[in-house]
Symmetry: C2
Subunit: 413 residues, 2 copies
Amino acid sequence: MNAYIITIGDELLIGQTIDTNSAWMGQELNKIGIWVKRRMAIGDLPDEIIASLNEAIQLADVILITGGLGPTKDDLTKHVLCKYFGGELIMNEEVLQQVTEFFTRRNLPMLDVNRHQALVPSNCTTLINKRGTAPGMMWEHNGKIIVSMPGVPFEMKHIMSTHVLPKLQEKNDTQVLHETLVTAGIGESFLAKKIEAWEDALPQNIKLAYLPSIGMVKLRLTIRGNKNEDLQTQLLHQFETLKKLVSENLFADNDEPMEESIGKLLLANKFSLSVAESCTGGFIASKIVSVAGSSKYFEGGIVSYSYDTKQNLLNVKKETLETFGAVSEECVKEMCKGVLERFKTTYSIAVSGIAGPDGGTDDKPIGTVWIAVGSSKKIVAQKFLFSKERFRNIELTYVYALKMLMDTIVGGI
Amino acid sequence: MNAYIITIGDELLIGQTIDTNSAWMGQELNKIGIWVKRRMAIGDLPDEIIASLNEAIQLADVILITGGLGPTKDDLTKHVLCKYFGGELIMNEEVLQQVTEFFTRRNLPMLDVNRHQALVPSNCTTLINKRGTAPGMMWEHNGKIIVSMPGVPFEMKHIMSTHVLPKLQEKNDTQVLHETLVTAGIGESFLAKKIEAWEDALPQNIKLAYLPSIGMVKLRLTIRGNKNEDLQTQLLHQFETLKKLVSENLFADNDEPMEESIGKLLLANKFSLSVAESCTGGFIASKIVSVAGSSKYFEGGIVSYSYDTKQNLLNVKKETLETFGAVSEECVKEMCKGVLERFKTTYSIAVSGIAGPDGGTDDKPIGTVWIAVGSSKKIVAQKFLFSKERFRNIELTYVYALKMLMDTIVGGI
């Protein structure tokens, strides 16, 4: 089975909106063994909608359309599709009730345009949208499946997960299973070399994907087979081997964001955390806090952008700063100790570096970063030389700091 | 003139990469009066490249292609295009020299595949790429312009800005000028109402675009005309009127990110800043620090996620916390004063709120945020009720805090 994604909206063409929907859909389809053949973005024009749909129906088995389902004049998708498939718009009572509730709950007046959201083409399957007022629509037409969904990511994901993906999975004869792990602190090519022999010997029905991002590489192991096969055992057997091979760089054996893995580990052990940040300027703290419920293990942090702050708030010694500078093993260890004592936490992280684009010297070029992680028992520090780009350096510092913290906790320090 | 964007790469179809290139290109083309008709993403397959190119040439004047120009086996774009336009690959000495320098400077060995990057189709215009090893290529074919560029955003933007956009601007008879301003703290529909009469009376050759994002709306005024007309005076006249109409919500009369505008203002006046963050957990600090050179005006901050920290580090009174709670006018004002004194800065920001998804009460529902901004002269605080979504609340708090700071500085408090 393959798919064609059509995204509708002028805002995509003028670049006002970055299309994250297609990427998410591509990932989810890929997970259930459906390949996206093409993605097309078009404007809110009936002729464009029809032309791209004609093309898509010729080329793919599944056509997923997003956008143009809002209540305003420029939202034409529903009308165009209704006509395309030879239906007429009729009021759907279930949707109407749900739209009415939506407005009642919010104490908002309901206008005619809102009521019209409940008008649905007579010949489609209505896909209830619990996160908004525009329902999804599905047609099965000459063996092809065509789905239209709102462009709001939150609503599209809900309709995809609840209605579309299960339906496609059922239609697809193939069974596809995945296991993913996260490595940090090793480049893609080095990682590939490390697991080369194992990868080459993988059975035909198991594939490995490298998913690199700044400072980390996710490895996703995928097995395909018939629905009645026991694929789980085969997959887990290989996954266990892979985990052992990359153990040195393993961050987590699942697909969660780093800050969530760390959060769960801290919470499960009733540990607490504080951070002292120089070059990252609050980035590490804000990532930790992005996880709901982080107040249960995160006490807070200090962003110390000046010598004064490092001395006054983190008890870094004046001599340390004068002798070694702020970007040094000595300073970052004192920062780590300082914040640990201030916040009385189980663990703390401290970072100090030169993010750039200015401030580099021959001795300490741009991209030089010291990271310290520790507890009352022990503080360890490590020096890194990252890149020339400010934001990249900030993000890399974050990834490596979390990797060091993970190793420290798992190592029982 | 209109354009068709083709992005090539399997990583786009499986959703491993989010396509930010197309959005950027759409924005830049729009600025010079070129409309993007369609955007297509396809895999690394010769047939797909040819099929989409055939379609694009039928529909548009300008075809911009990105991706598939790397040195590895799956990079096919150059070979396919070369054949499509009936040329042959020849060594380009200028590119070869530049590629050689690229490797020499990095002390890296140069392989045959790297040398082959300097092979360029005989019948195209070579677009030198100073940020990478793959040059851009341009063909003029039956009155159409076809450009192929690397998919790396940093390289694509360089080739677009240096070679492609100037060329298109020259080809296009139309002159297009823009002026943009940033408003904060007012919704799109309220803003529209405020300037309705003025907008309706705009001359035909001037258009207004609303560019909303979380907590702010940019207004872009665009004038179009012949190249020999004096459009600047007309545009500025309208822009000045617009600025007056939205003065209450005006954040900046240019297109810079908020943190840059604030940074410039602080720097120009030799003011300094510190922040005390509860619910935003370092997000405000990290945004301020994302600007290169921010160490000249940003002293640092305290992320106080617990009562203890608020008391110990920010001198918030125990009674304040017991009587009014952490999310209160009293607490946020004390936090603001505390951080101001700790960091001895001209200004400080303090925020405390309930980001969600838990922690709301009837009295203080999720989305309740108090923001205080002040100097040693005066501290002002304001209460907001944002949304139910954690990240949205964090981002809205940031936008409103910077708006309050801007008003405070401009107001001379």
